[in-house]
Amino acid sequence: MKTFVFTTTRDNKVPRSFFEALTYGGSLEGSEIIALVAGPLSQDQETEMQKFGRGQIFHFNQALPQWYDTFYYLHLIQSFFDEKGEPDLVVLGASEINQVLGPQIALKLSAGYVARVISLPIQQAPWRVKRYAYSGKIISHVELKTEKAVFLLSANVLSPIELGAGNFELWNALPAKGEGVEVLEIKRPESKQLLTEARIIVSGGRGMRGPEYWKPLEELAEALGGATACSRPVSDEGWRPHHEHVGQTGKIVAPDLYIACGISGAIQHLAGISGSRVIVAINKDPEAPIFQAAHYGIVGDVHKVLPVLVEAARRLK
């Protein structure tokens, strides 16, 4: 069984979700990995690739289009399949780009598509996997009617395992030209980490009282090497930028650690964080629903608690 894994690079790096997908694909019986990494990479990333790699990993070492052009990526992947053969299974790590590509690759391969897969397959013929449904309120078992399958993994469903068995080589193709789109402006966000990929997230809600009180929250995120986020009312009020909004209509995140500061835990917010491994709630209201979802909690004033946490986190380092 040929298993295809794909990722694009960002800031010359491979996202962790790629190694999660490699580990997933490599855990299946009879699976032979053939992977494609598109975009420039820094030197140290090639070492990472050797460490976590398995099977054959090909590197398309060219600058990627400025805007997200689905024709470009589909053409690239199609050229790859034309040369290396069509896979039986495609495993994609959680990323916004894979979320768009997955359904289209599935159509190209006449494969069944399952998004947000949370476990290794229950069985392989026919394919049967588990995923979250109804915004994380229930787990569904999905069975495919097709021989081929495309799985988009949820973030953080497994930890990448070092195998050091990857063969890494360059691969080239003539890229398709995206036409009819004019790029007027490109902005890079202030935060380096993507929320959807961050391992640690410190998030603030209305209980923070106002944008001027965000400093200790940012300091805690920085001390822990994490990213900052917020609840919907906070982004709607304009206290924080929209791209920080975590919740049903914002970003769906699955970090190792999610620290909710002054967030009451509306069901829409919980829908966005239910995949987190450990949730910490800090809130002055002991009845706040966030404590039902949390693994650790402090009932107290965030403005008193946060500076203490910042200091302790810095000491830990």
């Binding site: 229930i138 009617k145 009819g180 910490v280 107290g300």
Partner: protein
């Protein structure tokens, strides 16, 4: 110019989701159905565009693939401001089946701008728009957080993979919309509700391509232990516990 908004009928966010006696189906009794939150924002933006660009947009059509119980939500979309509604009479088991019905419809009834929400709050597959694009052969714009019309051109704000872009593109387009496309969803006013009663709602027979995937069982979430509480005066303990016990920092 014609705008189509693909809308989905989903259980209200606060609905408790439980299975029926068989364990294989969601118990839909007592479910309150709503317009999928992202589709609601897409529709809101479509209406704003029509209001802001007087005379430019001929009509806004809402299209849904659903059984008859979806019609209440379609009527709501009409009350909010859509001009007419289409219901394709199928209960799709997966995104492919839904996308196939939509692609067949748009092959027959093209639109310049087709809005799809980034995901539906029931299956959360985030796949229908991308599949529709490939099946219909229409350019796909993912991660759309803003859309404006300027002299026959469409200006699209795209936020994806940590990048924020402003692009100029020509229709036809499928705009997969997310947060930011509109801020406050429109709610129906009394006049709109009255008008919706006489706006056309057409039911079309499905093509029934068949699904590639189906849910065969549901499983409840594993029970969660109560949160371990730490005293406010002892807050620094939290960092220690996260380091030594939870091992996440």
């Amino acid at each position: 110019m014609k705008i189509a908004v693909c809308i989905s009928n989903v259980p209200d966010t606060t609905t408790r989701i439980k299975t029926d006696a068989s364990g294989q189906k969601i118990d839909l009794s007592g479910v309150q159905w709503i317009l999928n939150p992202w589709d609601e924002l897409a529709l809101t933006r479509a209406i704003e565009l029509k209001e802001q660009n007087v005379g430019m947009i001929d009509e806004i059509v809402v299209v849904m693939v659903a059984p008859s119980y979806g019609e209440a939500t379609l009527r709501k979309a009409l009350a909010v401001g859509a001009d007419r509604a289409i219901r394709i009479d199928n209960d799709p088991a997966d995104s492919y089946e839904a996308a196939f019905e939509l692609a067949s419809y748009f092959a027959d009834q093209p639109a310049d701008l087709i809005f799809t929400g980034i995901e539906s709050a029931d299956f959360n597959g985030s796949a229908t728009g991308a599949m529709l694009s490939l099946l219909a052969g229409i350019r796909f714009m993912p991660g759309v957080s803003g859309v404006f019309l300027e002299g026959g051109q469409t200006i699209v704000h795209q936020e994806i993979n940590g990048m924020s872009l402003r692009l100029k593109v020509s229709p036809p387009l499928i705009l997969n919309v997310q947060k930011g496309i509109a801020i406050v969803p429109r709610i129906p006013a009394m006049r709109g509700i009255m008008a919706a009663r006489t706006k056309p709602l057409t039911v079309l027979s499905p093509k029934k391509a068949g699904a590639c995937a189906q849910v065969i069982a549901y499983e409840s979430l594993p029970p969660k232990a109560a949160a371990k509480m730490i005293e406010e005066d002892n807050a620094a303990m939290l960092i220690e516990v996260l380091h030594n016990e939870a091992k996440v920092i």
